[in-house]
Amino acid sequence: MVSLANPTRFLSLVDAIVPWLTAMVLILLGLGLYLAFFVAPPDYQQGETVRIMFVHVPSAWLAMFGYMLIAVAALGTLIWRHPLADVAAKTAAPIGATFCFIALVTGSLWGKPMWGTYWVWDARLTSMLVLFLLYLGLIALWQAIEEPGRAGRAAAILAIVGFVNVPIIHFSVEWWNTLHQPASIFRAGGPTIDPSLLTPLLVMAVGFTLLFVLLHLIAMRAEVLRRRVHALRQMHVERAAAA
């Protein structure tokens, strides 16, 4: 594990993994979409709108997963000061923000026909919006501070402070009365969803998760290379000044 933290070894590992991961993502998402539209039956209460669940739920999970990843990487930045931890956190933020945006919009589009409204300021929806704003804040912080080390440390502190929102999102449907339904998959006593709807959901969830991992690895590779380009240019300028 320690050797993987070496940026050069990490880059060669990413080069080897990316083609396989791309193939797996395409197969799983293709299969997931087929199951979602041609195999899954309409829900007895929600009818055809249940198909929105196959993109909404994985996106919401990944929005929280992305933030957890950033918080763990933030610990790596602050405790071990490893440059790859900072790179991992910085590159996960736009991906997590995108999935959070998808969860908010698709949830809203699911809410209108089912609840009669696109938006309510209840605990689950508001805490997800706060998560999206936290993502935007992190991205803005990384953009605002030019020196990567300083930016990484500042963002790590914000990420750890903001992590308190993740359990609030998860338990909001139990702690407060909300329009949003309670947990129906990760709950004591097992999932309450029928297997005919659960299977496509899980296939889409695995496909979306692998897509997140794939994009994150490519973004991390680009960030490592960006820092190398910056260092090489700086070295060139210093040499030219010394000559």
Binding site: T8, F37, F38, P42, G47, E48, T49, R51, I52, V55, H56, S59, P94, I95, T98, F101, I102, V105, T106, L109, W110, K112, P113, L211, L215, I218, A219, R221, A222, L225, R226, R228, V229, A231, L232, R233, M235, H236
Partner: protein
């Protein structure tokens, strides 16, 4: 394609937003990756490499002897000089 009923517009909009957002994310990330790889290759063509990369190349060259440099016959081994007994 199944008939998506009276709420088909909401279902298509949800999948459309997902597709557009994911496609935009993929384009930005893959585009940035390609740009950085091109820049690194350009700098390396100009002879700008990291010190660690130069050391690694030098070590690899030293560890792998070329066929032209290899002597045809192995040099005779000379026994190590014995230490005279006191």
């Amino acid at each position: 394609m199944p008939d998506l009923g009276p709420h088909a517009a909401f279902i298509w909009a949800a999948y459309g937003v997902t597709l557009v957002a994911v496609a935009a994310l993929v384009m930005v990330i893959v585009g940035d990756d390609r740009r950085q790889r091109r820049l690194i290759a350009e700098l390396e063509r100009q002879g700008l490499t990291r010190r660690s990369a130069k050391t690694a190349t030098a070590k690899a060259a030293a560890a792998k002897p070329t066929t032209s440099a290899k002597p045809k016959s192995a040099p005779a081994k000379t026994p190590p000089a014995r230490k005279p007994k006191p």
